[in-house]
Each structure stands twice: as C-alpha cells, then as structure tokens.
C-alpha cells in the first residue's frame, strides 16, 4: 500500500507539545495524558504516559496496576525482563486494560515492572500506541502529532 493511501486512513491529528521535567535540563519528553480503566476499576484522573518508540511492550507502574485491582502477588511468578535500563521482574497482566487518549479508545495488554521507582505511570510502546496511530515527531518544533487509524476508530 502506498504511503498516500495509508495517510488517508487516519483520523485528524492530535497535536501534543513536548514536556520538560525536573533534573533533565532541556530534554523534551513526548508525554500524553491517558484515561485508563479496567472493569469497575479506574484512576480518577488521566495519567501521564511516555510515548516510547524504543519500548516494544507497553508498561504500567505497579501502583497503577494495583489501583486497577490487580494483586501482583497473585499473578504468579514474574519473568525476568531486560532492557537498556537493566533487568527487572515483569508480570504480563492477564486481561485487557481500556485506554482513552483524547477520545480515542483502545484496549491493551500491559506489562508491569516490579519497580516502584519507575519514572512514569505508563509507557506506551510499539504494541499499543504505535500500532493504533501514526506518530510524527517534530522535536525541533516542540510538538508531536498522533493520527489514530480510521479502520479501528
């Protein structure tokens, strides 16, 4: 399929400015707000989620998973996950979590890293946001754009 044809199957862009955080100087982080829920459990406000093209899987902070009703101790033996940040125990959540980003909804299977010091409430990687939307980074202009696929929205 040509690039043009692909482009026609996308929703209008959501434009998000990059954010800067303490201690990282002028580093610009691609962070979005998402609402997240699972069955009767939800977080009362949206949470920040890092859009990380280098993450093959999407990750929830263990505190977020617990608030969504998961008892991590009952999820069985975690596997050892290895990334550039080191190695951690990882659980794969047994069911789908609902995500809403600016009105666009998708469900995703998240992993939870057993590291309460994880810097982000959520990391959206290749298996979620990059599968559901085209993302164009314009770092030199201080923003990035997400265009959700029309065929699933």
């Amino acid at each position: 399929m040509s690039a043009n044809k692909k482009g026609n199957n996308l929703q209008p862009p959501i434009v998000v400015p990059y954010k800067t955080f303490p201690g990282s100087g002028a580093v610009l982080w691609p962070v979005v707000e998402i609402r997240i829920k699972r069955a009767s459990f939800s977080i009362p406000q949206p949470i920040f989620a890092l859009v990380d093209s280098g993450a093959s899987n999407s990750i929830l902070h263990p505190f977020i998973a617990e608030t969504l009703g998961y008892d991590l101790k009952k999820l069985g033996t975690p596997f050892k996950g290895t990334g550039v940040g080191g190695s951690h125990d990882v659980w794969v959540l047994p069911d789908m979590v609902e995500v809403n980003l600016s009105g666009y909804q998708f469900v995703a299977k998240f992993e939870v890293i057993n590291n309460p010091r994880l810097l982000w409430p959520c990391i959206l990687g290749q298996d979620t946001i990059f599968s559901f939307a085209r993302i164009d980074f314009y770092k030199y202009k201080n923003f990035f754009e997400l265009r959700f696929r029309s065929d699933i929205h």
Binding site: V15, P17, Y18, K19, T20, F21, P22, G23, S24, G25, V27, L28, W29, E33, I43, P44, Q45, P46, I47, F48, L50, D52, G54, A55, H61, F63, I64, E66, T67, G83, V84, G85, R117, L118, L119, W120, P121, I123, K141, N142, F143
Partner: protein, 62 residues
C-alpha cells in the same frame, strides 16, 4: 509551539501528584498513589492529571 515546562511546578516534589489541567499548580500529592487518590476523593475528585515525580529524569534510559 512552546513546550510545556513542568520543572517549576514539580521541582522539589516527590511521590505522586495531581496537577491542575493547565499544569500550573499542584492539586494534591501523596507518597503513594493510594494516598493521593484518597486526598483527591476528599477534594471531590477535581479535574487534573496524575503523575509520579522523580527528582531527576536524566537517569531514565529507554
């Protein structure tokens, strides 16, 4: 477009915080997410956005 500078509002904070929608002020904060959610509940769950705060984001490798 200007980037959003969260350094002033988050500087010196740690744990979990709820930021106002315009990111200008802290609505509530807690050492844990559970504690923060209890505080938000007492405030009537105002609009905002939740994040955890690290003292230094430069340590993130990903």
């Amino acid at each position: 477009m200007k980037s959003v500078n969260l350094r002033p509002v988050l500087k010196g904070r740690k744990g979990w915080v709820s930021l106002s929608k315009d990111y200008k002020k802290i609505i509530a904060e807690g050492e844990t997410l559970k504690e923060l959610i209890k505080k938000l509940d007492k405030l009537g769950n105002p609009e905002g956005v939740i994040t955890n705060v690290a003292e230094d984001y430069s340590t993130y490798v990903g």
